[in-house]
């Protein structure tokens, strides 16, 4: 089903004899989109590649000087940039692991006959559809040490979430877990409901324990879809900007996207920020590549 049914591009076909040929139609349908994406995505990247070898500052009228690989060399030797990457890595791990545990757990609970299951699932999916920036803002109120409902509900007194440099990153990750666990749940549920029932029946006949059934039947069969969720969330968490930018301004939550934003639009180190953007871009493309390869592999089954 997944593989498209192809029509041969036959100039002699009957359809081609009337109206436009299939070839014309194909080009007419596909080429504008490709051009649009080249002009508005690829061309800008080529443009910024050029600037990444200069000391250009967009805030001044001074012409850009060619500096060769200096920007890249300095960035890669800058311990602060590496700490931004380390913060990002920590954030990605905490939030993705959290989402997988919470999301998969929720899917296991939901994967049974539950009254109003459809309604409950839809309600659970609501957080991830909402704007990160706007809802994230409200978590500032929820996390407030003196009148936030989180401290009140958990009886934590005046625990500092966002103004404590050691806690802030976890607080941001917690909000992300709230938003995106339902995504992992949604994909896991699809995987769980596709596990053939007769496998469980066979396991029951063999008197297999619940743990054995889980690790030998459920997990291996859900793994491909779960993997899609993990790679997808890893990519998104790596790019996180909105949530962390809005919730805190701690140096300990300065993810690489935030560093890039500040470098480009607050410090106006345009040339250098283009170089950093390229370093980030290469990392993203590597993850995307893994993701697409995996997607295709799963689709083929």
């Amino acid at each position: 089903m997944a593989t498209a049914v192809m029509t041969r591009l036959d100039p002699q076909s009957r359809a081609a004899a009337r109206g436009w040929s299939d070839l014309t139609i194909r080009n007419l349908f596909v080429i504008p989109t490709i051009l649009f994406l080249i002009v508005f995505n690829i061309f800008p990247l080529i443009y910024s590649l050029g600037y990444s070898f200069t000391d250009f500052r967009a805030s001044t009228n001074a012409p850009a000087n060619f500096v060769g690989l200096q920007n890249y060399r300095e960035l890669l030797n800058d311990p602060f940039i590496w700490s931004n990457f380390a913060i990002t890595a920590k954030y990605v791990i905490v939030s993705v692991v959290g989402q997988v545990i919470v999301g998969f757990g929720m899917a296991m609970l939901l994967n049974r006959d539950i009254p109003l299951k459809g309604l409950l699932t839809t309600l659970l999916l609501l957080p991830m559809m909402l704007s990160m920036a706007v809802v994230g803002l409200f978590w500032k109120l929820l996390y407030d040490p003196s009148f936030g409902i989180i401290n009140y509900a958990l009886g934590l007194g005046t625990f500092e979430w966002l103004s404590n440099p050691n806690m802030a990153l976890y607080a941001v990750a917690l909000t992300d877990i709230w938003m995106w666990s339902p995504f992992v749940m949604l994909l896991s549920l699809a995987g769980l409901s596709a596990v053939p029932k007769h496998l469980y029946e066979a396991a029951a006949i063999d008197r297999a324990g619940p743990l054995y059934t889980f690790f030998r039947i459920t997990l291996p069969l859900v793994a491909p879809i779960l993997m899609i969720a993990i790679i997808f969330r890893t990519m998104e968490a790596f790019k996180t900007f909105d949530l962390a930018y809005i919730l805190t301004s701690q140096p300990t939550t300065e993810l690489i996207s935030i560093r890039l934003y500040k470098m480009a639009f607050q410090e106006w180190q345009t040339g250098r920020s283009c170089a950093l953007a390229y370093i980030v871009l290469i990392m993203i493309l590597a993850i995307t590549n893994i993701y697409v390869k995996y997607l295709n592999k799963v689709k083929e089954r």
Binding site: R26, I42, Y47
Partner: protein
Amino acid sequence: MAAVRTSGEVALNRVAIAAVIVITLVFLAPIYWIASTAFKPRNLATTIPPTVLFQPEVSPWVKLFTKRSQLRTQPTPEEYEAAPWWERIVFDGGEKVVRDGRGNVQWSAYPDRFMNSLIVAITSTVLAVGMGTFTAYGFSRFKMKGEADLLFFILSTRMLPPVVVAIPMFLMYRMVGLNDTHWGLIILYTAFNLSFSVWLMKGFIDEIPKEYEEAALVDGYTRMQAFFKVVLPEAATGIAATAVFCFITAWNEYAFALIMTNRRAQTAPPFIPSQVGSGLPDWTVIAAGTVLFLLPVAIFTFLLRNHLLRGMSFGAIRK
């Protein structure tokens, strides 16, 4: 699941149901808190312990739409009596509604930002889904050299971090004067959603049997006619679902809007957080603005519930 048999399994099922309900409530609590704050009097928004039961008010909504300034002198009883109900609410809060020279009430910035969000999201959705549907048909029905590579290229444009693309786009827009314009954002969001729209629509069109068009071709349709009269109606559900996804993405987008706009074309996502300054923000007004902003997405999520899985996985998983 297999039929529940033993009493142990019944008990387990009950525990699971209870857990699911508790988890759902916990997940919805933040959203409930936003919604309830939007109807609280200002002094009850930040209390210890948190106020759960209260007399709902419309004052946050009046404040959301009006431009206000601090009251220097109390209004005279006549002034107060002559004022419409909503102006009295503002007076009660120790503020007055700002009027221009001719006495017209000044609106707050919120309705403008909301309109900007609507214009940008709707236009970019129409463009992305329109182009995406044609392209998806092209990929779905015709052979092409390097098709997989082209599709990968299309997908990879979606994966670029917004800030990476925003730096050169900002410089280019500055040159051609597209900064802080609707079209500037519309182009960016169209490009961003186009890849998504192609992937999702390709999945929907792949599912329409090729025989339908072939029958139409045999009946004397040209391929264009077959596309418009046979394929498009069949793909209507898919187009609607794709459009809603694109709309939600554009509606929620923050980073591009923050960088590319600052006033005239600013959308709601960068505007709403900008109201929280260093002082004591009025959370009731922010909550009212947030509720109105989240409402369309909440409705769409409900309408889209059967397609969420497919959309969120780029069409990789179908139900």
